[in-house]
């Protein structure tokens, strides 16, 4: 079918371009502001591009706080979170999807209810627990609240539900136990969703601020988001170009990861066919 050039197509593209511009604008602004002089930022005229490119801002930002260790800590916590979430969530999701067991409905509703609780409301009990378990100032302590996500369980449940029962039946007939079916049939057939869950949990852990702040009190254990927050509100007056540089440093890996893996990401959201 030949692609017709009609007004409709033109308008459609114009609208999409306009939306894309609006969506991209804050990123672009942040990126360019990170190279500006402080005085340039506080000017009332609008110019996007800096007059002088100050790479110094990035050095300042990096040195303003131990971003090197922050990076490592963020990565460590994120990895723990990713591993735990892909395992625990897929296991639970499979049980809900394909197994009939006592109390299924009750547990399902319970799970729904627990999705509601905001993390901040649980901070003190969680902190005291972390304290008791000796998890304060540890990577595991930071990852503690992001080991499981109800949303991810739902996602995987959808995917597992769409695996044809015949496959499972035949595996069972071949003598596999439920657990083996899970490992050898279900998981390989849900690679896309597992990747999505891995990415989503990485994101949640990377972007987490409040809990890591509570559970660490020494700089060598802190994460990137805490470092950035401290830059925003120092008593000496925030230095915006440096903050923009720090934000860029923090966002860059995630954005790059996203761009390269966006196929999985977006595909995963698309095909999970949330019903």
């Amino acid at each position: 079918m030949k692609k017709k050039f009609t007004w409709k197509v033109l308008v459609r593209h114009l609208v999409l371009i306009a939306c894309a511009a609006v969506i991209l604008f804050p990123f672009l602004w942040m990126f360019f502001a990170s190279f500006k002089e402080e005085s340039e930022v506080f000017v009332e005229d609008f110019h996007l591009l800096p007059e002088t490119w100050r790479f110094q801002n990035y050095l300042d930002a990096w040195n303003a706080a131990p971003f090197g260790s922050f990076y490592i800590n963020s990565i460590k916590a994120a990895l723990i979170s990713v591993v735990c979430q892909t395992c625990f969530c897929s296991m639970a999701a499979y049980a809900f999807a394909k197994i009939e067991f006592a109390g299924k409905r009750l547990l399902f509703s319970l799970m729904l209810a627990m999705m509601i609780l905001p993390e901040e409301a649980a901070i003190i009990p969680n902190y005291l627990l972390a304290q008791k378990l000796g998890l304060v100032n540890t990577s595991f302590g930071i990852a503690m609240t992001t080991l499981v996500s109800v949303f991810n369980i739902f996602l995987l449940r959808q995917t597992f539900m769409s695996i044809p029962n015949d496959l499972i039946q035949s595996a069972r007939l071949d003598g596999c136990s439920m657990l083996q079916v899970f490992r050898h049939v279900a998981v390989p057939n849900a690679k896309g969703s597992m990747a999505t869950v891995a990415l989503l949990s990485f994101l949640t852990s990377w972007n987490n601020y409040m809990w890591p702040y509570m559970v660490t009190d020494q700089n060598q254990y802190r994460t990137l988001q805490i470092g950035l927050k401290y830059l925003i509100k120092p008593d000496a007056g925030p230095q915006w170009p440096m903050i923009m540089a720090a934000s860029t440093i923090i966002l860059l890996p995630v954005m790059l990861l996203f761009v390269f893996l966006q196929k999985y990401f977006v595909q995963g959201m698309l095909t999970s066919g949330i019903k």
Binding site: F42, R105, Y127, Q131, D217, P234, D235, A236, G237
Partner: protein, 447 residues
């Protein structure tokens, strides 16, 4: 909806089980003898009993621990001074930046609940100190720090840091509210420096009329300036243990704020978060902020204009409130307490205090510091002379358990005054008084 009913039943069952188990766990210790937890290296020795006056003498026989933890509100955590201390005494200081005063209070309170505290912390005078002391974990400095230093502290500072007749925190980096102004602007337009609150309002208007820019604003910690104006009116949030926000004096201040923000529009309403930047960019003529920000403001202003400092406006008297932070010691082992004491005394060395003042704007807290040569250099700047002059009026009220409540209430009050022209001031102030009274009656630390 059977699902939901079953769920509700499950919650019911679980909660009753939990209620039975929960009640005794995780309570913070009171001043009773408890085995103190330690955070840095040291051994967890058996209880140091209630802090009594013989403690200071006990420590003289004790060997200091080899490591202590220090929580700071300064970004670089005084790393140079910590290194010097280690070189001199061999005691390692593990210093961590905790954010600003509010963040520090959060962390310390969580630390008390979780029994995970540092040895020394920089505690803002703003709020939380009464609770920390009543929890039993904050040690009164008068029992540990040497007499020399205690007596050398300028008396005005103790007014704030004395609670239940005990000196609980050692003044360290302290400040006073001042009135900064754009000297270049004032000179160019022949504007006179205001000395009273009424004059400030008039000057603000003059600035607006003559130059079109905003006249005045309060920095982002605006409740502090409100309270400063209260003290200068001869009143305080608590007078003789009674809430006294609902008074003519306070009402007068409220009305002035309304005049500035709403009627005259010489103060940008609800824009205090960027107050310092706005002033430094020449968009506001006067700024009420701390003398401690002097160095920072000079940096931010650069060449744009000349910065002037004037004394904080009087209302009916001069009773200047104190700001900044002090050093507090927390309960741990005798060895660590000894090391902590040594560290604090090290930081209070006159030369170091003087240099600290020079590099920022904090005032020198001890007489010895004011007598150093460094301090004389400090005084060469006419603006700093004004700060020094205001020191004689240092006063303010002692810390109380309602500090936090009052801070938050005043913040909301000012927000409302600026945002809502219809606000009923009397009603609002009466509500604050009731809230204060309720809190005091409930407060466990009074028992």
């Amino acid at each position: 909806m059977k699902k939901k009913l079953v769920y509700a039943a499950a919650v019911g069952i679980f909660s009753s089980i939990a209620l039975m188990g929960c009640s005794s766990s995780e309570t913070a210790s009171t001043t009773a003898a408890t085995a103190a937890q330690t955070t840095a290296g040291g051994t967890s020795a058996a209880a140091s009993s209630e802090a009594d006056t013989t403690a200071a003498e006990d420590l003289s026989e004790v060997q200091p621990a080899s490591e202590i933890t220090f929580w700071s509100t300064k970004e670089d955590c005084f790393s140079e001074l910590c290194a010097e201390f280690e070189a001199e005494t061999g005691i390692k200081v593990n210093a961590t930046y905790m954010g600003g005063y509010d963040d520090m209070v959060n962390k310390v309170m969580a630390g008390i609940a979780g029994e995970n505290l540092p040895n020394v912390a920089q505690l803002g005078q703003r709020h939380g100190l009464a609770q920390m002391y009543d929890s039993g974990w904050l040690l009164p400095v008068e029992d540990y720090i040497s007499e020399d230093i205690l007596e050398d502290i300028l008396p005005g500072f103790w007014k704030r840091f004395t609670y239940k007749d005990t000196k609980v925190i050692l003044p360290f980096q302290n400040s006073m509210p001042m009135l900064y102004y754009n000297k270049t602007l004032f000179d160019e337009n022949s504007i006179e420096i205001p000395t009273t609150l009424d004059e400030v309002a008039a000057t603000a208007k003059e600035i607006k009329d003559k130059t079109g820019i905003y006249g005045v604003t309060l920095n982002s910690d605006y409740p502090w300036y409100f309270m400063a104006l209260m003290y200068n009116s001869g009143t305080a949030p608590l007078v003789d243990g009674q809430p006294s926000m609902n008074t003519e004096a306070v009402k007068n201040i409220c009305q002035k704020i309304q005049q500035l923000a709403v009627t005259d529009q010489t103060m940008p309403a609800n824009q205090h978060a960027t107050a310092q930047e706005d002033f430094c960019n020449g968009n506001i003529g006067m700024l009420m902020t701390s003398c401690a920000s002097y160095a920072t403001i000079q940096n931010l202003v650069g060449d744009k204009f000349e910065v002037g400092i004037a004394m904080f406006p009087e209302v009916t008297t001069m009773d200047i409130t104190m700001g900044g932070n002090g050093l507090g010691m927390f309960k741990s082992t005798p060895e660590e307490e000894k090391a902590a004491t040594m560290f604090i005394e090290f930081m209070l060395d006159p030369q170091r205090i003087a240099e600290g003042s020079l590099n920022s704007g904090y005032v020198a807290v001890t007489n010895a510091a004011t007598e150093t040569e460094t301090y004389q250099t400090y005084l060469e700047d006419p603006n700093r002379q004004v700060v020094d002059e205001q020191l004689q009026y240092l006063g303010s009220a002692a810390v109380t358990p309602v500090d936090s409540l009052v801070w938050n209430e005043v913040m909301d009050l000012i927000d409302s005054l600026e945002a809502d022209p219809e606000i009923n001031i009397d009603e609002r102030l009466a509500e604050i008084d009731t809230a204060i009274a309720d809190y005091m009656s409930e407060y466990a630390g009074n028992e």
